[in-house]
């Protein structure tokens, strides 16, 4: 028994929340881990000093995807519900951001309002779909193929919006060519608005968001909600017998994951000032699955590290042609599932403990 179990009431709520930064549902605890965490954040913060604005702006591209990956880790890794629809929420939020900002503009910090609204729209769609799926007790493989079908039909719908009649206000949807010309994120500031073009400032904003979302999700999965979610993944019937309405927990995780995918969509759209239906294609929909599966879906840290590593590798391979890179991604997915089902990064992270256990066993014999 640890201290936190014995005297929970004496400490303030804030301290209780912080104590959830580590717990049974996340790898990494103790001063060693957090020292490493601070070093990584410090290195990431120092990176723009050793690089030029253009390269730093391109690095932001990697970070924009991590929110979608962490959301998928929450739904799939922690909740045990395999959603293939992450890119639908990504695209929906991206288009929503585009439509809102093209029509209303970037004044008075409206882009930030648009970001929140786009995330809410993605969350609302997830709540609607999730209501039918989870309250219809759809689980396992059907959940995956229904969410994938929704994504593909949404892609096809957006791809045929080429004509001038497909416009919302002054925002043309432009079919397969995609929507462009939306303003980047803009922070209102007394001495003139800060426009976040892909440069150092945007890098710090997005890096801050990554750290915030990562720590926030760590607290979430180690809270009561996260523990119930894991209990549902391990054995839905048992969780239900213990009195939890598993549908509500799964729906909650699904909506949070969708909103994170929406955050990725908005940041991607604002970063490139561009969104196309192909960001929801079957190939695009497979990529988050690859990142999360290869990293280690049932741990946030492994997911985050895995996503960045796989994205970096993918980008490096793309210079030979994206079709070769995609073949490597497919092979990586098959090999991961066959050889290291819990994820390659997670397997590596657990290796020292496993070796120690083995050597202790050896001594005992």
């Amino acid at each position: 028994m640890t201290l936190s179990d014995v005297q929970p009431r004496r400490r303030s709520r804030l301290a209780a929340a912080f104590s959830r930064l580590e717990g049974p549902q996340t790898m990494g605890r103790g001063p060693g881990f957090w020292a490493g965490f601070l070093i990584v954040v410090a290195l990431a913060s120092a990176y723009p000093l050793f690089s030029d604005g253009y390269t730093v702006g391109n690095t932001v591209y990697f970070f924009t995807w991590t929110f979608m990956a962490m959301g998928l880790s929450l739904i799939w890794g922690y909740g045990g519900a395999l959603s293939f629809g992450q890119t639908a929420f990504f695209g929906l939020a991206g288009y929503t951001y585009g439509v809102l900002t093209i029509n209303i503009g970037a004044e008075y910090g409206f882009t930030l309002v648009a970001l929140l609204l786009a995330m809410l729209v993605a969350g609302a769609l997830a709540a609607l779909i999730g209501y039918f799926l989870f309250f219809g007790r759809i689980t396992g493989v059907f959940l995956g193929i229904v969410t994938l079908s929704i994504t593909l039909v949404f892609e096809r719908f957006m791809a045929q919006t080429a004509g001038p009649q497909w416009a919302i206000g002054s925002a043309r949807l432009n079919g397969y060519n995609g929507m462009s010309g939306m303003p980047p994120l803009t922070i209102p500031w007394p001495s003139g608005d800060i426009v976040l073009y892909p440069d150092v400032t945007l890098y710090y904003v997005v890096l801050g968001l990554v750290v915030l979302v990562y720590l926030g999700l760590r607290m979430l999965v180690n809270s009561r909600f996260g523990n119930v979610l894991v209990a549902i993944r391990e054995n839905p019937e048992r969780a239900e017998m213990l009195g939890y309405d598993i549908r509500k927990y799964q729906l909650g995780a699904f909506v949070i994951g969708a909103m994170l995918a929406g955050l990725s969509g908005v940041l991607y759209t604002a970063w490139g000032q561009y969104i196309t239906p192909s960001s929801m294609s079957i190939t695009a929909a497979a990529l988050p699955i690859v990142w999360v599966a290869v990293g280690g879906r049932s741990d946030l840290t492994a997911t985050l590290v895995g996503t960045l590593v796989v994205l970096g590798g993918f980008q490096a391979l793309t210079i030979y042609g994206s079709q070769y890179a995609l073949i490597v991604m497919g092979a990586l997915l098959v090999v991961t599932v066959l050889v290291a089902p819990e994820g390659i990064i997670a397997a590596i992270a657990k290796l020292p403990a496993r070796l120690r256990a083995r050597s202790q066993k050896g001594e005992a014999v």
């Binding site: 396992g140 229904v146 096809r156 294609s281």
Partner: protein
């Protein structure tokens, strides 16, 4: 006369949608029904069948034989895939779906690299016929009969042959079947191969009507998924009735609002059906309420 023509046109569209749904879904449904596995590379087996069919036809082999050849090649690849990947993942349905997605990525992009982004197709054979003042494609009628023939053939296969009996025994109580000396691994491999061969057959049948691109499999999978979800685990009690219901929805919406709205209507239908009948139509027929 005009009234009769529009009735015929409605039936034709319904039949066309029905054939498309049955043929898209049957391979997926067999594999899902027998093994509980969703094969996300289903679309790529369809693509494989279509490509083999077109290549064989252009090499001078008559179209019906080419279609059978496409089906055969897809079936053999299916058995190989079962040996290499699927076999290791039984009892882990979510992992299977993920692994087959990886296979699907490899197959699509590999085809793109090897054969390029498009391939010259073969024209739709058999021409057209006229009813009233409307013209209809004869080949579409052939496809409708092909769908019915596939359903009939599967019924005979599962009810009248030794393989069918062993397969049904394996699906009902795998351990008992094993105990009685059925080589269940063999049955699973053949079932997966059968599902892949049916997908290849679908590809071959639709190849003359489609543009040959490596991503053509994606055209079929939404319909296939939706039909299997609505139908549930049984091909005859699920897939066939589901295809009838969904074909009405699809044909109605397609002729009213266009192809895309046909698909959107299918999706809405499936979401409503799973809310009401979580185990699909076959579950409802078998009174297997959740």
């Amino acid at each position: 006369m005009e009234f009769l023509t529009s009735i015929f046109a409605a039936f034709y569209q319904f039949g066309d949608a029905f054939a498309f749904l049955v043929l898209s879904a049957c391979g997926l449904a067999i594999i899902f029904g027998m093994m509980g596995v969703i094969n996300l590379a289903h679309g790529e087996f369809i693509m494989c069948g279509a490509y083999v069919t077109v290549m064989a036809t252009r090499a001078g082999i008559p179209l019906p034989l080419s279609i059978l050849l496409g089906s055969l090649v897809a079936g053999i690849i299916g058995i190989a895939l079962e040996r290499l990947v699927i076999r290791h993942l039984y009892g882990r349905p979510l992992d299977t779906i993920v692994a087959t997605w990886g296979v699907s990525l490899i197959a699509t992009q590999g085809t793109l690299i090897v054969l390029g982004s498009t391939m010259q197709g073969v024209g739709t054979p058999l021409g057209s016929f006229v009813v009233g003042n409307l013209s209809f494609s004869t080949y579409r009628i052939v496809l409708i009969f092909a769908a019915l023939a596939v359903l009939g053939g599967l019924y005979l296969l599962f009810n009248k042959t030794r393989f069918g009996i062993l397969a049904r025994a394996t699906i009902q109580v795998p351990h008992m079947a094993e105990g009685l000396g059925v080589n269940t691994r063999h049955v699973y491999a053949l079932t997966f191969g059968l599902g892949a061969a049916l997908a290849g057959l679908t590809g071959g049948l639709y190849a003359p009507t489609m543009t040959m691109v490596p991503t053509m499999g994606a055209t079929f999978i939404v319909e296939a998924f939706v039909t299997v979800v609505v139908g549930g685990a049984d091909v005859f009690l699920g897939t066939a009735p589901a295809a009838v219901v969904l074909a009405v929805v699809k044909a109605g919406m397609t002729s009213w609002q266009g192809q895309l709205f046909g698909q959107i209507a299918l999706l809405i239908a499936v979401v409503i059906v799973i809310r009401l009948l979580p185990r699909g139509i076959s579950g409802f027929i078998l009174k297997e309420r959740a």
